[in-house]
């Protein structure tokens, strides 16, 4: 072995081993576990069961319910986050009086820990003590079961997601708006293009790649939602607000069925990868029309 090849290996192997240990090993380990029954309580020796964990999950109604709940929360909340966030960013970009104050105020929710947000929401939406109920009482609607009625509980979770994560959209869209060349809009103003057409024909297409990225980040992050739901409803009433991550948590840490939880995690990963691929392919087709 020459000196050259030696130094090549000296540089390559540590990097390869670190990647192997840090990323690949846990994944491979989890994948192995997903083909076994591993129970911690009561402790049982791992037993290879092939695809049985996967089959069991795919046959359970609870899994499909969790997918439905996750999709409902994620798609509806991200849609609102994008629309409201974009609108706020546009408003802030046009230097409304006190814009710098609003800029900070609008960003605050994003910096709060989701668990705190959930605890605050729990008080706000309390069926007896909460100010939201107090407000509705004024209109003769007393004691609305915000957190115990399935539809209302999901709606509250969606509202919280929107409240907490719209600032993220505002932040990125505002950065995008501030990066757009000013002259293009001045040219449009000189050409007597109305504000709405300027947005529709210039701002929106120019920020489309950013929009796609922002929505993508929010969707992927949204799929992983667990903390607010865990604190606020615990997946209830019943399993009506149980998301995929919460379902996996319950399997792993309440039933201590680690094999099942691993299989669930992998199914979750597959769902996200599939969705991500379809989304990006569609987005690419859309941007190609404009770029």
């Amino acid at each position: 072995m020459t000196r050259d090849t030696l130094s090549k290996h000296a540089f390559m192997w540590p990097a390869f081993l670190i990647v192997l240990i840090v990323t690949l090993f846990p994944l491979i380990y989890a994948l192995t576990v997903s083909f076994q029954t591993v129970r911690i309580v009561p402790p049982m020796p791992p037993e290879y069961v092939g695809l049985r964990n996967y089959a069991e999950i795919l046959e359970s109604g609870r899994f499909w319910n969790a997918i439905g709940v996750t999709a409902t929360i994620v798609f509806i909340s991200v849609m609102f986050q994008y629309v409201i966030g974009y609108a706020l960013a546009l408003t802030l970009h046009h230097n409304v009086p006190g814009a710098s104050l609003y800029r900070v105020a609008f960003l605050l929710p994003m910096f709060m820990a989701p668990v705190c947000v959930a605890l605050i929401a729990r008080m706000l939406f309390h069926p007896v003590l909460g100010p939201v109920n107090e407000f509705f009482t004024l209109f003769g609607l007393a004691n609305i079961p915000f957190l115990t009625n399935p539809t209302l509980a999901i709606s509250v979770l969606i509202v919280i997601e929107i409240w907490q994560w719209t600032p993220f959209v505002v932040l990125l869209m505002l950065a995008g708006l501030q990066g757009l060349p000013n002259e293009v809009f001045e040219a449009a103003r000189v050409d007597n293009i109305s504000t709405w057409r300027r947005f529709r024909d210039i701002t929106f297409p120019m920020l489309l790649p950013l929009s796609i990225a922002v929505i993508f980040i929010r969707l992927i992050e949204g799929f992983k939602v667990i903390d607010t739901i865990f604190v606020l409803t615990g997946g209830g009433p019943g399993t009506s607000t149980e998301t995929l991550t919460l379902f996996a948590y319950n399997e792993g840490f309440k039933k201590f069925n680690i094999g099942m939880a691993s299989a669930l995690s992998f199914l979750f990963l597959i769902v996200v990868i599939l969705f991500g691929t379809v989304y990006l392919a569609a987005a690419q087709r859309l941007t190609r029309r404009y770029q």
Binding site: P181, E183, V184, E186, A187, R189, V190, D191, N192, I193, S194, R197, D201, I202, P205, M206, Y290, Q291
Partner: protein, 355 residues
């Protein structure tokens, strides 16, 4: 002025407490090509943007074709503007860039196609109509920007340093194209540049500005031959005019111990003066029916082919002389050049106004 098309009447512009344009008056005739020129920060772009409506006017009035447009939004002034950075819509093809405003304002597809083809034909853009701006060169992009202004058939064209981002060769080509186009269309044009060559070659009338004030507004040749003050004299002409503190006594100019005889009529109008600023352009150091000798010490030579620039000193002042390529000159050894005394300029040392 007969039949002014665009009038700026005592317009001012302040940013907070800072007044960048003191009251400014300007009248522009129908079909005239006006160039606003001056050093950076002289207020030329601000003036143009006020005319376009992109900046509000602090006080004063702007009229275009007898209509007061001071408070009118930019889109309703019937001006078309070409920007330094082209300001093309990056996601639209050349065709859509040019036709976009017409489309928004409800023109029929036939009408749009006709005007777009007309503009593309005029600007040589037909092969590129379906390309996006990012696939065009700087010159082509600027032509698209001009095309976009053209199809609107506006009352006034506004150009904000449109050639600054182009290379030297393309700039020369484009300035001729713009000038010819404007003459052919007969549309009033206001053009902003910091390049005096551009100003001189394109304008019917050049407006030289400094610190928001119009120093002189005149035809290019008049600016060159009869600059209103030392600033204009210095700004117009390349290489710049030489200036020296001098004295006029008994029919001659005394500079650095040398005496240059003035033509009789010139001396009669000026009279004896103990202190005066004497100006001579490097290209006017040549023989004529009233040429006198001036001795200078050369420090460097710049042979440019058609002529040579001698950079040297006259006393303690710097001097530049333009001489024939074969003129016998050696660095460090005093040489004598001719000065055409018919072409010299005098300015008041206090006010710097032309005498």
């Amino acid at each position: 002025m007969a039949d002014p098309h665009v009038t700026l009447r005592s317009i001012t512009k302040s940013f907070g407490a800072v007044q960048v344009i003191p009251p400014l008056d300007l009248e522009i005739r129908h079909g005239e090509f006006i160039v606003l020129v001056g050093p950076s920060g002289c207020g030329k772009t601000t003036t143009l943007r006020m005319l376009a409506g992109l900046e509000t006017v602090t006080s004063g009035a702007i009229t275009i074709g007898d209509v007061d447009v001071t408070a009118t939004p930019p889109g309703e002034r019937d001006c078309a503007m070409v920007f330094q950075n082209y300001a093309l819509y990056p996601h639209m093809s050349v065709r859509n860039n040019i036709g976009y405003a017409m489309k928004v304002h409800g023109a029929t597809p036939d009408e749009i196609n006709e005007r777009v083809s007309e503009a593309a034909d005029l600007l040589g853009l037909e092969p590129y109509l379906d390309r996006k701006p990012k696939n065009l060169s700087g010159g082509q992009r600027q032509r698209v920007a001009i095309g976009r202004a053209l199809v609107r058939h506006p009352q006034v064209f506004l150009f904000d340093e449109p050639l600054s981002n182009l290379d030297a060769k393309l700039r020369v080509e484009m300035r001729t194209e713009i000038k010819l186009l404007q003459k052919r269309l007969g549309t009033t044009a206001v053009y902003v540049t910091h390049d005096q060559i551009e100003a001189m070659t394109m304008a019917d009338r050049v407006v030289v500005m400094r610190a928001g004030i119009i120093e002189q507004a005149a035809a290019p040749i008049e600016l060159y031959e009869r600059p209103a003050n030392k600033f204009v004299a210095n700004f117009i002409g390349s290489p710049a005019m030489n200036f020296f503190d001098a004295e006029i006594k008994d029919g001659a100019v005394l500079i650095a111990g040398q005496s240059l005889t003035l033509p009789k009529e010139r001396f009669e109008t000026l009279g004896n003066r103990s202190k005066v600023i004497f100006g001579i352009r490097p290209e006017h150091m040549r023989s004529s029916d009233h040429a006198v000798d001036l001795t200078l010490v050369p420090e460097a030579l710049e042979p440019l082919g058609a002529h040579t620039l001698v950079l040297g000193r006259l006393g303690s002042d710097k001097i530049t002389a333009q001489v024939d390529p074969r003129f016998p000159v050696e660095i460090g050894r005093p040489c004598t050049v001719k000065v055409d005394m018919n072409m010299v300029h005098f300015f008041d040392p206090e006010t710097e106004v032309r005498l």
